[in-house]
Symmetry: C2
Subunit: 585 residues, 2 copies
C-alpha cells in the first residue's frame, strides 16, 4: 500500500530522511534559483506575448505541484524559452498578443498540455517521446534559438517586432527601421554586451580572485540580476518611459487567483495540436535534463512518473494564471550546482517568487523590456549548436537530412511545421530503410563455425546450397522485397537444391511476412529447391511453431547456420568446394 502510494507521490520516499541540513541546502539553492528566475519569468512572458505577471504566476503553483509529484530532486520547473516561443506561435492566430483573450488562450494551452502529459503518463505512453529523434530535437532547438533571438531584436531596437518565422521577422524589422529608439538601443545593446562579457570573463575572473569554481559559476549566472537592477534604477531616475523606452509597466501585485481557464470548446480544439507538440518537446527536454543530473548522483528518474508530474504542474499553471511550463535546462543546472537535495528546493523557489510578486512589482514596472530581451538572447545563445549539424551529417545522411529539414522549415515557416516535418522525415527514412532490408549471401570462414558475407570475406560456399542472411525483422513493409531477393538469387543459380535463410537478425516475423515465406516456400518447391531456416530466435520460433507454414515446410529448421552447413553440404561432399581465394573487401 505504501509502495503504491510512493509510486504516485515520490515525496513519501525522501520526506522520511528530511532534516535541517537538507533544508539549509534546499533553501540556499532556492534563493539562487529565485534570483535567476524572476527576470527569466518576466522575459519569457514577454517572448510569449503575455503580460509580465503570467510569467510570475507560471513560476508559483506549477513548482509546488512538481515538488509533490516529480521524481527528479533537482529539475527546476517553470516557463522556458522554447515553450514560450511555441506558445506565441500557437496563440498568434487566435487573439491579439496581450489581450484578455490571448491570456485566456495561454491558460487553456497550459491546462491542455497538462492534461495530455497526465494522460500519457497514466497510459504509460512515455515511449512516444522517443520518436522525437536526437537530430530532430537538436535541430529544432537550434532553429528555435535563432527564432527567439530574432524575435527579441525588435525590443533591443525599441521598435515593434513580431512574426513567427525569420521571413516575417525580417519584414517587420525592415518596415520599421526608421523608428529605432536610440535610448532603448543603448540600454538593450549595453546589457547585451555586459551579459556577454560576464559570461565570457566573470567566472575566470572570480576564480582568479580566489572564489571556488562552483561559487564563481553561480555568481556569474546571477549577472542578469545586476543588469535588471541597474537598468530599472536608470529608467526610474531619468524617467526613460517618457523618452520612448518601453517598460514592463504596472504588474498587478498579489498572488494569482485560482480559476478555471476559459472553457470555449472551439479554443480547446484549435489549440490541441500545438498543445501536443509543446507537451512532447517540453517532456523530452525535461527528461533529458533530469536524467543527466540524476545520473551524476547515481539516482534514477521514472519517465512515466515525470509525465504525470509535469502534466499536473501544467494543469496547475492553467488554473493558476500561468503559461505552459517545463523543466528548464540552465535553471536546473544552477539548482543542482547550488546544492538542491530534494524537490523542497522547488517549492521554496515558488515561495521566493511569491514574495517577489508581493513586494517588488512596483519596482519592476520601471524595468525596460530591452533588458529582458538582452537576457533572453544571452540565455538562448547556448541552445544554438551548429557543430551538431556537421557532426550528424558526417555520420548519417538520413539523420542529417531530418535535422536540416527541421532547421530550415522551423526558420522559414515556424515551429509547428518544422518539428512535424522533422519527425515525419525521421520516421519515413527509418521505414524506407527497413522496407529494403540488407541481406547477404554468406559462406563459412574456414576453420571456424562462423559465416560472413561472401563479398567481404574469403569464405567457403557451395553450388547446391546457398545461405542467405537476412539483416532485418520481416514485416509488412519488407516482406515483398524479400520475395524478390530470393527469387532473383534462385533464378541465377541453376544447380541450386537448398536455400537456407539465416535468421539471427530476424527479431520478428509478422503476418504479412509469414505469407511471403509461404509464397517463397511454394515457389521454391515448384523449382525443386528446398527452403530451410537457421538460427531462428526463441520468441520468433515460439510463434512460427503454431503456423501451417511450419508444419508444411519441407526443409529443416537448424539451431545454427553451421549445423545447416554440416547437414546440407557435408552430406553431399562431392559438391562442396573451396572458393578461390580472392582479395576480401
Amino acid at each position: 500500500m505504501l509502495n503504491r502510494f510512493a509510486r504516485v507521490l515520490p515525496i513519501v520516499h525522501w520526506l522520511k530522511d528530511y532534516n535541517g541540513g537538507t533544508f539549509v541546502s534546499d533553501s540556499l539553492a532556492a534563493v539562487i534559483v529565485t534570483l535567476m528566475l524572476v527576470p527569466q519569468a518576466l522575459a519569457y512572458a514577454l517572448l510569449a506575448g503575455l503580460p509580465a505577471e503570467v510569467g510570475l504566476y507560471a513560476s508559483m503553483i506549477p513548482l509546488v505541484v512538481y515538488a509533490l509529484f516529480g521524481t527528479s530532486a533537482t529539475l527546476a520547473v517553470g516557463p522556458v524559452a522554447v515553450a514560450s516561443l511555441m506558445t506565441a506561435s500557437a496563440l498568434g492566430g487566435i487573439a491579439q498578443a496581450g489581450s484578455p483573450e490571448y491570456v485566456g488562450a495561454a491558460l487553456v494551452l497550459a491546462a491542455l498540455s497538462g492534461l495530455i502529459l497526465f494522460a500519457m503518463g497514466v497510459l504509460r505512453l512515455g515511449f512516444l517521446a522517443n520518436f522525437l529523434s536526437h537530430p530532430v530535437i537538436s535541430g529544432f532547438v537550434t532553429a528555435s534559438g535563432i527564432l527567439i533571438a530574432g524575435s527579441q531584436i525588435g525590443h533591443i531596437l525599441g521598435i515593434q517586432g513580431g512574426g513567427h518565422n525569420l521571413l516575417e521577422m525580417g519584414r517587420g524589422l525592415w518596415q520599421q527601421i526608421a523608428a529605432i529608439n536610440p535610448v532603448t538601443l543603448v540600454i538593450g545593446g549595453g546589457v547585451l554586451v555586459y551579459l556577454y562579457l560576464c559570461r565570457r570573463f566573470l567566472k575566470p575572473a572570480l576564480v582568479a580572485i580566489g572564489l571556488s569554481e562552483r561559487l564563481a559559476d553561480l555568481s556569474s549566472k546571477a549577472a542578469p540580476v545586476s543588469a535588471v537592477i541597474v537598468t530599472t534604477a536608470a529608467a526610474w531616475f531619468w524617467d526613460l518611459g517618457e523618452a520612448g523606452v518601453k517598460l514592463v509597466g504596472e504588474v498587478p501585485s498579489g498572488l494569482p487567483s485560482i480559476s478555471l481557464p476559459p472553457l470555449d470548446p472551439a479554443i480547446w480544439s484549435t489549440l490541441l495540436p500545438a498543445a501536443v507538440l509543446i507537451s512532447l518537446v517540453g517532456f523530452v527536454e525535461s527528461v533529458s535534463v533530469a536524467q543527466t543530473l540524476a545520473a551524476k548522483r547515481r539516482q534514477r528518474i521514472d519517465p512515466n512518473a515525470e509525465l504525470i508530474a509535469l502534466g499536473l504542474a501544467n494543469v496547475g499553471a492553467g488554473v493558476g494564471g500561468g503559461s505552459p511550463v517545463s523543466g528548464g535546462f540552465s535553471r536546473s543546472v544552477v539548482n543542482f550546482e547550488a546544492g538542491a537535495q530534494t524537490p523542497v528546493a522547488g517549492a521554496l523557489t515558488a515561495l521566493g517568487i511569491a514574495i517577489a510578486t508581493l513586494t517588488m512589482t512596483g519596482l519592476l514596472a520601471y524595468l525596460p523590456k530591452a533588458t529582458l530581451a538582452a537576457t533572453i538572447i544571452i540565455a538562448i545563445s547556448t541552445l544554438i549548436d551548429f557543430s551538431a549539424i556537421r557532426r550528424t551529417l558526417s555520420y548519417s545522411k538520413a539523420d542529417g537530412a531530418a535535422m536540416l529539414a527541421t532547421i530550415v522549415l522551423t526558420l522559414v515557416h515556424g515551429v509547428e511545421l518544422g518539428i512535424l516535418v522533422g519527425v515525419g522525415i525521421s520516421l519515413g527514412l527509418y521505414l524506407y530503410r527497413t522496407s529494403r532490408p540488407h541481406s547477404a549471401v554468406v559462406g563459412l570462414i574456414p576453420g571456424t563455425e562462423h559465416f560472413r558475407n561472401v563479398s567481404r570475406h574469403d569464405v567457403r560456399t557451395d553450388d547446391a546450397t546457398i545461405i542467405l542472411r537476412v539483416d532485418e525483422s520481416l514485416y509488412f513493409a519488407n516482406a515483398r522485397y524479400l520475395e524478390d531477393t530470393v527469387l532473383e538469387l534462385v533464378s541465377a543459380r541453376p544447380r541450386l537444391k537448398n536455400l537456407v535463410l539465416a535468421c539471427q537478425a530476424v527479431n520478428d516475423i509478422d503476418a504479412s511476412a509469414l505469407e511471403s515465406l509461404e509464397a517463397i516456400d511454394k515457389r521454391l518447391a515448384e523449382a525443386d529447391i528446398t527452403l530451410h531456416l537457421a538460427e531462428v530466435k526463441g520468441p520468433v520460433m515460439d510463434r512460427l511453431r503454431r503456423t501451417e507454414f511450419c508444419r508444411e515446410l519441407r526443409g529443416s529448421i537448424f539451431l545454427s547456420t553451421y549445423e545447416a552447413w554440416r547437414t546440407l553440404v557435408n552430406a553431399t561432399p562431392a559438391k562442396a568446394k573451396e572458393k578461390p581465394v580472392t582479395q576480401g573487401g
Copy 2:
C-alpha cells in the same frame, strides 16, 4: 537504346514473337472476358452511382493503354468492385449521384489517381504500397465486400438504398421497407439464387457430363450473361418498367469522346486524398493478382512499370469518359485460364466492349438493375474471408488488431477512415515493437562456439563478463530503452568488469543511438566497466569507424562473440565457471 525503349514500352518484348497462334489464343480469351465484362462494367457503374455508359467507357481506352505499357500478359484491367465502392464514397459528398457534376468528378478522380500512380512509378515509389500490410488489405477487402453487398440490397428490393457505411445503409433500408417492389424482388432474388446455384453446382455438373475442367470453369463463370439475357428479355416482353422495376434505361450508343475532365481546382484538391487511397489499393490488388498469375508461368512483372501502366490507364479513363480502373481479380483469372498469351487479349477485349456499346445499348435499356445487383453480390462474395481474421489473430495479436480495426471502422464509418486507421495501427504497432527491442543475456553452449539466451538454454556464463545480444537495429525510438536496459543489468551485477554488446542483429545504428552508445560507454566507465562490441556488421562498422565513439571506446570490437569470450573470459580463467545445469526454457 532499344533496351531503354523496351523498359518504357514492354510491347517491344513480346511483339517480335507474335504470331497467328498467339492471336487465336488472345482472341478467344478476349471473347470470354468481354462476355464477363459487359454486365460487370454496367454493375460497377451502378455501384459507383454512375450512369451505365461510364462503366463501358472505363472498359475501352484504359484497356488499350494498359496493353501498351503493362508488364503483365494476363492482367484484365477495368472497373472493379472495391474501387467503385471507394469512388461512390469519395463522390458522395460532392454532388448528387448520377448528375453531370458527379460524372465529371468521377473523371477527375480517375485522372487524378492516374497521375498519382504515374508519378509514383516515375519516382520509383512502388515500395509505398508495401505499407498496406496483408492483414489490413485483407480486412479492408472483406469489409468492402460486406458494404458492397449492403449497398445492393436496395436494388434487389426495388427501393432507394444509399449510405456509405452499414449504419447509414441500415437506416436507409428501414425507412423504405414499406416501398418494396415485389416484381423487382422476384427478379433480384431469382437471379441471386440462380447465380449461387450456378457457382455451387454448374461446374461439377458440366464436368460430370464430360466437359474439361477448364471449359466447365469458364462456362460456369459466364452464368451472369444468361441471367442478363433472360431478365432483359422478360423486362422487355412484360414491360416490367411500368410495374415499377428499375431498368438500366437509355444508354447512349457510340464511343466515348476524348475530352479533358473538369479542371476546377477545388474538386481536384477535394478528391486528392480519396485518389491517393484508390490508387494505392488498386495498385496493391493489381500487382498481387499479376504476380500470382505471372509466377504460374515463370514470368515476372515489374512493379514500378505497373505503376506507370496503371497510371496511364487511369489517365486514359479520365479523358475517355471512364471511372477509376485497376486489375480485377476474377476477370484476370478468367483471362489467364482462357489462354491469354499477351496484352493483345486486353486490347481485343476493349474492341469487344466497343462493339457491344455500338450495337447492344438498345437492348441493355431493358436490363433490370436488380439483375446487376445480384451479379455484384455473387461476384464480391468471394472477397469476404472471415477465416483470415481467426488465422491472423491466432498468429499475431498486433496484426489481428490492425485487421479488426480496419474491418470495424470500414463497416461503421466508411472506406477512407477504415483503411487509414488500419495503416496507422500497423505502423504504430510496428514502431512500438521496435521501440522496446528484445535483448537477451547470452552464454556459451558448451562444446560449440555458439551463444544462446541464458534463460532458454543451459549455457556457460561468467561473473565478470556479461554478453548482451541486442535483437533490433538501434535507432532513435529505442536508443533510450537500450540505455535503461544496460544500466539495469549493470546495477544488478557488482562484480562486473566487461559488458559485450553482441550486434549480429543490429542492422543499423543511427545518430540518436550513437549518442546513446556514447552515454552508455561514459556511464559504464564511471562504474569501472569496459564496454565492448562484437559481431558488428560490415555496413554498420563502416560508419562507426568514422566516429569519435569508435576512437574513444576503451574496449575492443570483436569479430565474433566467441572471440570476445575467449579473450575476456579465458584470459581470466579463475572466474570462469560452469553455470549449474537447469531446465532450459
